[in-house]
């Protein structure tokens, strides 16, 4: 099949024809083809409010962080269940893993709140419209009694990884989470121009 001949037609594709082809190329790892399709797309000019890029970037980061927390909550609950079913050392270990997920959940949530405070945005405004918000709030309550604090998390990791001081230095903090969110957010805003 002569793909060059096909490529010459790429500028004639409609958006709904182009998008599946770009996704299919990305899915099979053919980035060259994905780029070729993307670059051949006609450009359109949008007349938009000046906050569109920041607004959309904020929505995107809201959604991604919310999903990450739900993912952690699901892992936490799965490990709690598994720890109940296991016995002795294995059960203790699984309970430790559950509490570690709880620790990460709490730090990521605190980091999110810190990031939103800096941006002067209500951290739960968008989340409250998402499926899973009730689950997230319930998970937060549960984590109050089923999550490690910073010292316990460091001690748990030190058991498997090495010295407690080094491990504690590597642990996430709300500040490091907020910083990462800031970087992702700014990168998205920059993309919008």
């Amino acid at each position: 099949m002569n793909t060059n001949g096909l490529a010459k037609q790429y500028d004639k594709l409609t958006p709904r024809e182009r998008l599946p082809l770009i996704l299919a190329a990305s899915a099979r790892g053919d980035e060259q083809e994905a780029d070729r399709l993307a670059n051949a797309a006609p450009r359109v000019c949008w007349r938009v409010v000046d906050y569109l890029g920041r607004g959309l970037s904020h929505l995107e980061i809201n959604h991604l962080h919310f999903m990450e927390l739900l993912d952690l909550a699901a892992w936490h609950l799965q490990m709690l269940l598994a720890s109940d079913a296991a016995e002795d050392k294995c059960g203790e270990r699984l309970l430790g893993i559950a509490k570690m997920y709880g620790f990460v959940f709490k730090v990521k949530l605190a980091g999110w709140r810190l990031f939103c405070r800096e941006q002067r945005i209500d951290p739960e405004l968008f989340w409250s419209f998402l499926p899973g918000f009730t689950t997230l709030k319930r998970a937060e309550e549960l984590m109050e009694c089923a999550a490690f604090d910073r010292e316990a998390a460091a001690a748990f990791l030190a058991d498997t990884k090495g010295e407690i001081g080094e491990v504690a230095d590597e642990l996430l903090t709300p500040e490091s989470v907020a910083e990462e969110l800031r970087q992702v957010f700014e990168a998205r805003v920059e993309w919008w121009g």
Partner: protein, 196 residues
């Protein structure tokens, strides 16, 4: 506080200041203020590929789908964990909750796959490219074995004296089509004429 004199400054807000004020107005249900903030925003021109807006819409749908599936998983394990509590007076409620969550997870995955195929989009890739974990893929393979059939779930509803019936995968597919239609109404013709 004189809001009129403040309003006169609205066209001077930085984009992020405006986003914060619109979000705050939304939080207190002040639609008039939201509209005023939106209407006074400076307008800019952006030049992008014509498929960008459909791409944003479909990725937003993928994020909603992923959130629903993670919610179902968290509910499933929460219910099973509570079921283990020997002091719980009504364990059958937790068992039903676990079954409902497993059933929902499986039907929604089926509906999403069919929805993606209708649009000629690879539904699995759409999900994978928007999700950094691996829990969902892991459970997508195993959950069908744990989920009850619709008939079995209806029978359980009745046993516990509950009314109503669980949604079908067909109804969930209709739901995805409906949201997509709502998102693409008013400008997205799919032929290059999109407007945000």
């Amino acid at each position: 506080m004189n809001t009129n004199s403040l309003a006169r400054m609205y066209d001077r807000l930085a984009p992020m200041e405006r986003v914060a004020l619109i979000a705050a107005a939304d939080a207190r249900g002040d639609e008039v203020e939201q509209r005023r903030l939106d209407a006074t925003a400076p307008v800019i021109h952006l030049r992008f590929a014509d498929y960008l807006w459909p791409s944003i819409k479909i990725n937003t749908l993928a994020l909603i789908y992923l959130t629903e599936q993670l919610d179902a998983l968290a509910n499933y394990w929460h219910a099973l964990w509570r079921l283990d509590d020997p002091t719980d007076a009504e364990p059958e409620d937790w068992l039903l909750m676990a079954d409902m969550s497993a059933y929902y997870f499986v039907c929604n995955a089926d509906a999403w796959r069919r929805f993606g195929s209708e649009l000629n989009l690879d539904p699995d890739y759409l999900a994978i490219s928007n999700y950094r974990g691996w829990l969902l893929q892991f459970c997508a393979q195993r959950m069908p074995k744990n989920a009850p059939t619709r008939e079995a779930l209806i029978a359980r509803y009745r046993e516990q004296g509950r009314a109503g019936e669980p949604l079908t995968a067909d109804a969930m597919l209709q739901g995805w089509r409906h949201i997509y239609r709502l998102m693409t109404e008013g400008g997205d013709s799919g032929d290059g004429g999109q407007k945000p």
